[in-house]
């Protein structure tokens, strides 16, 4: 209700009207006749973008937990590799990491002919395993740093209480430490996931056909430049909005 009232301020109504006019102008004077032809491809691309986003975020988060734990409380021989990994991932561009994985590894294949006869070859031929690997490592690198702070930030009293009741260490980690750490990072997790969404179009540079690649295809087929890009930006904004909403609902359901 308050949100509605906030929208009803006079200047906002004028701005919304202007925005509607802008959309109308875009709809009428720009070229959209290519949409029906590319619709199936676009849906497929959108699905692939979301699939990559979800899979790499989940896998990346699972990897981030041990990375954060190792840095927060691990012995030096675990903490140091974990810290080095996070520094390297965060210190170099993702595009370079993707190309190193895809073309760097690819350049090794001809030197080792047995790879081509191995069971993994059908997967190594595809582009998506490299995309998933690169994006997972990237998410883990950034989130590992966040989880380090989260694990270190959990109130020691709670852990001591669990220990004094004789809770086994693994149960303590699973039931108390991890949930508390995750609750601490939930607000940043939504932001990190949007950053991950914004990283997905880079996989198009190694031939994965995500929604970005579809827009490039439209551009190269029809020489229409702006319209596919504008629509693409709108699609990413909608997905980012949905992510924000989902995390907000999730946060509200977690007891604070």
């Amino acid at each position: 209700m308050t949100a509605l009232r906030a929208l009803m301020q006079p200047h906002r109504i004028v701005m919304m009207a202007l925005f509607a006019l802008l959309i109308l102008w875009c709809a009428i004077s720009l070229r959209w006749d290519w949409i029906p032809r590319y619709m199936p491809l676009a849906l497929e691309g959108m699905w692939r973008t979301i699939w990559i986003l979800v899979v790499t975020s989940v896998l990346g988060f699972l990897l981030a937990v041990p990375l954060g734990l190792a840095q927060a409380v691990g012995p030096w021989y675990l903490a140091m590799p974990a810290r080095t990994f996070c520094t390297i991932i965060r210190g170099t561009p993702l595009l370079l990491q993707i190309w190193l994985l895809y073309y760097g590894l690819g350049s090794l294949f001809p030197q080792y002919p047995w790879i081509r006869s191995s069971e993994l070859w059908p997967y190594l031929r595809q582009a998506w395993p490299y995309a998933v690997l690169a994006l997972t490592l990237s998410y883990a690198g950034y989130e590992g740093e966040v989880m380090r702070g989260a694990f270190a930030g959990v109130n020691k009293g709670q852990l001591e209480a669990a220990r004094s009741f004789g809770m086994p260490r693994l149960t303590m980690f699973r039931r108390i430490w991890l949930p508390l750490a995750v609750r601490n990072v939930l607000p940043t997790l939504g932001g990190e996931t949007i950053l991950q969404l914004k990283a997905t179009p880079l996989v198009a540079t190694i031939t994965v056909i995500d929604i970005y690649a579809v827009s490039s295809r439209v551009r190269s087929d029809t020489f229409i430049v702006y319209e596919p890009l504008l629509l693409l930006a709108a699609i990413y904004m909608i997905i980012a909005g949905l992510i924000t909403l989902a995390f907000r609902r999730f946060e509200n359901r977690v007891p604070g």
């Binding site: 690819g106 350049s107 551009r219 430049v225």
Partner: protein, 254 residues
């Protein structure tokens, strides 16, 4: 009024280095495409096409500057005025003529299929059915493959070089590209795995009629100047001389 003046001043300051006497910006693809255009380790662009560009500009008395841009954005760069002409082995096709104009052709090259020597592949849709074919985005080959190789899995690369790299790695079964560049590629150590399997069936409406210089629609002055330059180097033997430095046979036919 004052505000517009201020805005103009800001813009002028922002694009400091605005030149009054415009040199002609010749757009080339920012990727190694030997033997036509590739960067060397000293940071210069070298190759057959680079020499031809220099010769054409000299003959047409144009002050040209090479401007590397991404291939798949080269036409938007032209229409968006970042460059003035495209001389990047771009074939003259009907589809492209809807958006830009072309000069007369300055070389032609048929489209061929390249694949691993050990593979029994013919340059036909039937033989390539079920195979993974790598092609460069925004090329005549992409248009051709999308039209004819409907039963193949097409993998689209930003540069031909990446497709070649994946052909060597075995990630794709075949690639379709310009025959001259491919002849150069299979002669290299890395390209030794593969051979040219033959030209694809011609379809002039897609594959075009030779390579020309792309210019903006209506930029007739530049188009005429480039035509004059191309005609001049064809007439005085410069074209032939440059070609002899790279190839054993002529790569130009009327």
């Amino acid at each position: 009024m004052k505000k517009t003046m201020l805005a103009a001043a800001t813009i002028a300051a922002f694009v400091a280095g605005a030149a009054a006497a415009d040199p002609v910006k010749i757009g080339i693809a920012a990727e190694p495409y030997p033997p036509f255009a590739s960067p060397d380790s000293a940071g210069n662009w070298v190759g057959w096409e680079i020499e031809v560009i220099n010769a054409v500009c000299a003959a047409a008395e144009l002050d040209c500057v090479l401007t590397p841009v991404a291939w798949d954005g080269i036409i938007p760069s032209l229409t968006g005025q970042q460059i003035d002409a495209i001389m990047a082995s771009m074939s003259i096709t009907e589809e492209r003529l809807k958006t830009i104009d072309f000069s007369d052709p300055y070389y032609n090259t048929p489209a061929v299929i390249v694949a691993d020597k050990a593979m029994d592949i013919e340059p036909t849709p039937e033989s390539l059915a079920g195979k993974i074919v790598g092609i460069q985005a925004s090329t005549i080959h992409q248009a051709y493959a999308q039209e004819y190789f409907k039963d193949s899995e097409l993998r689209i690369y930003q540069t031909q070089d990446e497709a070649n790299q994946d052909l060597v790695a075995g990630r794709i079964d075949a690639t379709q590209a310009d025959s001259i560049a491919m002849a150069d590629f299979v002669a290299t150590e890395a390209g030794g795995c593969c051979e040219i399997k033959g030209p694809v069936a011609n379809d002039e409406s897609i594959l075009g009629r030779g390579v020309g210089a792309g210019v903006r629609k209506g930029d007739d002055a530049l188009r005429e100047a480039l035509n004059k330059g191309i005609a001049a180097i064809l007439a005085d033997g410069t074209h032939e001389k440059i070609t002899a430095g790279y190839f054993t046979t002529s790569i130009y036919s009327k």
